[in-house]
Symmetry: D2
Subunit: 234 residues, 4 copies
Amino acid sequence: MTDSTRRDFLQTSVAASLLAATSVSAAAAAANDKPATRFVSDHQHTPVPLPFDPQALNGISEKLVQSHWANNYIGSVNALNSVRGKLTQALSDASTPAYLYNGLKREQLLRTGSVILHELYFSNLGGSGRADAELRSKIANSFGSFDVWETEFRKIGQGLGGGSGWVVLGYNRTLRLLENYWMADHGTAPIDTTPLLVMDMYEHAYQMDYGAAAAKYIDTFLANVQWEAVAKRL
Amino acid sequence: MTDSTRRDFLQTSVAASLLAATSVSAAAAAANDKPATRFVSDHQHTPVPLPFDPQALNGISEKLVQSHWANNYIGSVNALNSVRGKLTQALSDASTPAYLYNGLKREQLLRTGSVILHELYFSNLGGSGRADAELRSKIANSFGSFDVWETEFRKIGQGLGGGSGWVVLGYNRTLRLLENYWMADHGTAPIDTTPLLVMDMYEHAYQMDYGAAAAKYIDTFLANVQWEAVAKRL
Amino acid sequence: MTDSTRRDFLQTSVAASLLAATSVSAAAAAANDKPATRFVSDHQHTPVPLPFDPQALNGISEKLVQSHWANNYIGSVNALNSVRGKLTQALSDASTPAYLYNGLKREQLLRTGSVILHELYFSNLGGSGRADAELRSKIANSFGSFDVWETEFRKIGQGLGGGSGWVVLGYNRTLRLLENYWMADHGTAPIDTTPLLVMDMYEHAYQMDYGAAAAKYIDTFLANVQWEAVAKRL
Amino acid sequence: MTDSTRRDFLQTSVAASLLAATSVSAAAAAANDKPATRFVSDHQHTPVPLPFDPQALNGISEKLVQSHWANNYIGSVNALNSVRGKLTQALSDASTPAYLYNGLKREQLLRTGSVILHELYFSNLGGSGRADAELRSKIANSFGSFDVWETEFRKIGQGLGGGSGWVVLGYNRTLRLLENYWMADHGTAPIDTTPLLVMDMYEHAYQMDYGAAAAKYIDTFLANVQWEAVAKRL
């Protein structure tokens, strides 16, 4: 086959494969919660409940936490699940322009980021805000001191005040370093990095309780960190 | 300490910590290539040589490969190393506005992405373009069939033609799925994902040889994939 | 001169020109509020007061409006003025890497957008929400009907809920069309376009009063539009 | 009507209006090249031919110019025209999720930027590279000197080397200043600004002739500027 006939052939066979995959996946799903074989675009993400009592955070209101979970997180889960269906449809139609297909892939990337980051965010809240000596020492090893780490983490957060974004302490697997990352939105991220501590700086994470006072929210966030969850991720 | 005196204290102690860390790191570096204790902003990335004979790619010229490595990749290594120094300086000065600090963090993120993605790209080139049965089967498990995977991978690439970006087949560690990702630039990425196969769609990856014919470049890229490297990453 | 000696010469003469320009500009500024000759990087933007009584909006609280003006708008004015100084400094030093210079130019672009869009936003609020027949007819001419325009304007706003962005009805001067534009942040914008009606969809524009209910905020925004201001811009 | 019944009503009437608008527009188009009444989503952009002899540029090859015009510019015209049709369809279906609608609006914004910027770029090429005294003096008035302007314009361009973007000298209508702007892609732009001189820094503007040598391309671009066109825009 030449390359271009190969491309035609590929495209022709995709619709059939997608249909077959969908049926296999549906059958598998009926038999088993996590089937080994499934078509990625059919994957439906199941929302994770809040891992702590929303009344229990010190300085973040139950109302804000509930709204954050029910609107921003669940909204992204629903959008992600819906986008997967649109991707399946769009890929099976060879006439879909590639740039429109990428509009859907962009939405998938943003929603995947939103879903995962929100799950990490909620599950690194609900703690005492005190990291144990071992973790502090590991962080100090990468940053010179725990205080340098904290100063940078706060500064990135303050710079994101008034807009969207995330601050992530991550373990970069290629560089083998703990680093803080600035992220402008759900789709900005360091490649090949395990997220350890995740702070939401979208305004929906604090405006309802703190208005524009992002620095106060950062204080509150750090005072509620569940460092045990962070240690497990590392 | 109140939160705000704590912040003042933190900031005051950072300059000292940074200086100390720098000396420790310098001393450590003198004794040892990979010291256990180092300040992250001091980390200097060492460029990785081209892992294949640049004359040996089938359909990508030596001239393009050499320029890609020497200008785009090495340019990013140098910029990343230089930005780290600027970050150390800027963090030790409490008067640096947070939004200007984040300008440097954005550059760090972009250059980190560029460095890592280019290293993955070069090291997944130089092969036969044929994945073995085991890997094809793993990919088919996630996508329904290997052809569906290839069709989507190509389509994302075509949609990025004429601009910047990357296509990445990655293993999303949270979702436990193999997925293809659209990335608009070095700083767009899926969170918590191990990159497996990386295709550069910046125009410097093909314009010199293929002009605007991005689809032909994608054919050529796929024909030169070193699938053994991809399998090792998974 | 060869091109490269010309570049050297240019760079050498820039520091002198910048200094001279600064003095000229300072002298001019002493004599005249809006001097004909000034160096662009010295331009200091003067904040515009709220053009309406912040207690008078129907459904947006005085507290939110005051915070929006005093924190988000004034914050951007201050940042823009400060960035200009940094640009002057950075340009006069030939050793500034171009990618770091562009970090400042990006900040200038974002802050310029924030300042101008906020001024337009505040000055198209405080009205009755009713456009007169002439304006409705002009909008209907471009969109098929006024209702089509409103439906699209609302839909773009709803899609921006939960993040950052703006919706702008603008007159595209090249295309000679009235169009609604989606903008993801202060720096996303249609080129060569006169903004007519500007709606802030950053969460600080509504979270304090409406939580995550972006659609209700859009209702309220439209009910408070000062259409006379919009008509004047057209 | 309550706000929510009003929204329902609006949505119901949109499909009808869109259909009517399409017929009116078609009828108008039959009678007149530039009808006063048309539906904005039906607007089909007519490509502008290259305004100069593609063999005549000094240092940019005919092959590159032809490819740039035929692939990158015409590709965007076609995509823009196609996206308008998709927008009309998507808006008339009330069940279209707002975030998917915005995926199309984003593409419209990017393609609108690409079309307009490319037209400005081509029409400010083909000249002698020498601005007359009056224009140089106007630029010097804003920048301190013509050399400061040129130094900044070049520096922004160099910082964009190896990726995507535009450099634009524009007249900001709100600030009443001539300023140089950094643009990361077709959809990054200063609001309320008349573009005067436009330099394409996407790699397709130079890779074919200059490889990674962006600075040489900038020299060539400036030597070919049609300053008379720039003066007319101001």
